[in-house]
């Protein structure tokens, strides 16, 4: 008996099993079978909508922003609470039409920059009526 060696038990890292933490407290009686499924569902909304009251959606029409990953038919998330800044992608309303472009802000003027060599940059002058409608924060696309 004395000669018997000690046997070391190693933690089994191959067959991991996770047990939920008993956060509900332990009580006698039958546990509710629903308890294990209590976590909230994954919500895309929660991930892409940071400011519900100011968030709107739009559909991309055309390929002018292909380089930025915005393809024809993609869904974009627009957050109007974000301030327009140089380099941000914005939904703009210019001369009677909605458009999505990257903002390039210089000292005395603004450019709306496409990300596709087939399209030209647009210099916004006093002739144009520009509304920076909102800032694009996410794009949802089908793969």
């Amino acid at each position: 008996m004395i000669n018997k060696k000690l046997i070391f038990f190693k933690p089994d890292t191959q067959n991991q099993k996770y047990f939920p933490l008993a956060s509900e407290g332990i009580s006698a009686g039958f546990p509710s079978p629903a308890e294990d499924f209590k976590e909230l569902k994954i919500s895309i909304d929660q991930e892409v909508v940071k400011n519900e009251s100011a968030t709107f959606f739009a559909r991309v029409d055309g390929q002018s922003m292909q380089g930025a990953g915005l393809d024809d038919g993609d869904l974009i998330v627009i957050d109007r609470s974000q301030e327009p800044e140089n380099g941000k992608i914005a939904v703009c309303f210019i001369d009677g039409e909605f458009t999505v472009k990257r903002l390039k802000v210089e000292d005395d003027c603004i450019y709306l920059m496409p990300e596709n060599s087939k399209y030209k940059a647009l210099k916004v002058t006093s002739e144009n009526q520009l509304i920076i409608w909102g800032i694009v924060t996410y794009v949802v696309k089908k793969v």
Binding site: L40, K41, Q46, N51, E52, S53, A54, F56, F57, A58, R59, V60, D61, G62, S64, L75, I76, R80, S81, V91, F93, G96, E97, F98, T99, V100, I131, W133
Partner: protein, 418 residues
């Protein structure tokens, strides 16, 4: 101080957010079935198109002056309203939503200048986040805030949309400027009576002896007088002027998470809206239902609303309650700690001249049932008779020739950007 926040030409403004090409152009929104004008842009007002104008009578004028005409899109207006109200709630937990486009907010600070400053901030934030322009009136009481709001709107160039009645001198000037017919809560009958004794404006009204007011205009008249004098006396529910929308919204006493608990609340709110409609002898054609979580808690936030179109204009508690619950079930999301809900009755028409829908039976027998319920509830205390609720299948369509897309609530309808 009380702030009255009122969205400028709300329905028109909602349409313009998604179709900015109509900024600075004459725009009108028509009631259900494209009946009459219920919202006008300032340019349309300048063309002297009156509120309530019958659309068919003004058809030629619309054409001649290139007036853009929209059918009412309550799904859009309801969603935009919810956004505006959510922003307001982040400024003060003391909010009373008065209608789809108006709310009172209680703002507290040691300094009235701070409150004015804060109000400009609120206005700017609502405009940036939602695109909706608002006017804000500030005053020590609600009836005065209503007047301040009118001044803010009317003299937009000087006030930039915010006006504060923060001194007795300003209050007196504003009261003198307000004709007696325009005082909130003074009906046509009392206005006539007051005119007959030489009272032409609100200042002359508050200078009347209390005795006279109490004797001739009952206790509510006296409370209104005190409220206009700058002592806050009026609860919102007390003022029942003919309104274009009626609202019942409440914070729950405790957090609610179960659908059935919230259904009970929403049913009660809808019943209360129906009662208010019956008191002013009108019916509604749409219902807006909203729910939201507690914005002051760190848990997952959720807020949503939807608009239900009724097949026939109604003020029956049974119908409104059923439809409100139907709406609630569409927006209810499990796992959320709900703090507030509300029901707004929209598209109001007077009982006498509402259009009947030929495809749906108008349930006339509800009229006498409602009368009986009102009588019993009046005699034995309100809510002695309550409803139980079921579901409803609705298939019908109404005339909406100039309906804009549901830009914010239907994925197929969102804006397209190039």
């Amino acid at each position: 101080m009380f702030a009255l926040i009122d969205c400028n030409n709300f329905y028109v403004s909602c349409e313009r957010v998604f179709q900015p090409q109509f900024d600075k152009k004459p725009v009108v929104v028509l009631s259900n079935n494209d009946g009459c004008v219920i919202s006008r842009s300032n340019e349309a007002k300048a063309l002297e198109i009156p509120m309530g104008a019958a659309a068919f009578k003004y058809k030629n004028q619309f054409k001649k002056y290139n007036v853009k005409v929209f059918s009412s899109n309550y799904a859009l207006y309801g969603d935009m309203s919810r956004r505006v109200m959510s922003i307001l709630e982040s400024y003060s937990p003391n909010i009373e939503i008065y209608s789809i486009d108006e709310a009172f907010l209680k703002l507290t600070s040691f300094n009235n200048l701070d409150i004015t400053e804060e109000s400009y901030k609120i206005k700017k934030q609502i405009y940036q986040w939602t695109g909706i322009p608002v006017s804000i009136g500030l005053a020590p009481s609600k009836s005065l805030a209503k007047i301040a709001n009118k001044i803010a709107k009317k003299f937009n160039h000087q006030t930039l949309g915010v006006y504060s009645l923060d001194s007795q001198e300003k209050i007196n000037k504003a009261l003198k400027w307000t004709t007696i017919e325009d005082v909130w809560g003074v009906g046509r009958r009392y206005a006539k009576l007051l005119r007959s004794i030489g009272v032409k404006n609100a200042l002359e009204f508050i200078n009347l002896p209390d005795q006279w007011v109490k004797k001739n205009m009952n206790v509510l008249g006296l409370r209104l007088k005190k409220d206009l004098s700058g002592l806050s006396f009026i609860k919102l529910e007390e003022i029942r002027s003919q309104k274009k929308s009626i609202a019942t919204t409440r914070s729950f006493e405790s957090i609610l998470t179960n659908l059935s608990d919230i259904e009970e609340r929403v049913s009660t709110f809808a019943t209360s809206c129906a009662e208010k409609l019956r008191i002013q002898n009108s019916c509604c054609t749409s219902l807006l239902v909203f729910v939201r979580s507690d914005p002051f808690k760190k848990e997952q936030q959720y807020s949503n609303s939807c608009v239900i179109q009724l097949s026939n204009a109604s003020n029956s508690s049974l119908i409104l309650s059923k439809q409100a619950i139907y709406g609630l079930r569409k927006i209810f999301k499990p796992g959320i700690s709900y703090k507030k809900a509300g029901v707004l009755a929209l598209g109001l028409t007077s009982k006498e001249n509402h259009q009947l829908n030929i495809f749906e039976p108008n349930i006339v027998r509800h009229d006498s049932l409602m009368k009986a319920i009102d009588t019993i509830n009046h005699r034995h205390g309100s809510n002695r008779i309550k409803l139980a609720n079921q579901d409803l299948n609705r298939v019908w369509k109404m005339k909406q020739n100039n309906l804009s897309p549901k830009f914010t609530t239907v994925l197929e309808d969102i804006i397209k950007v190039k």
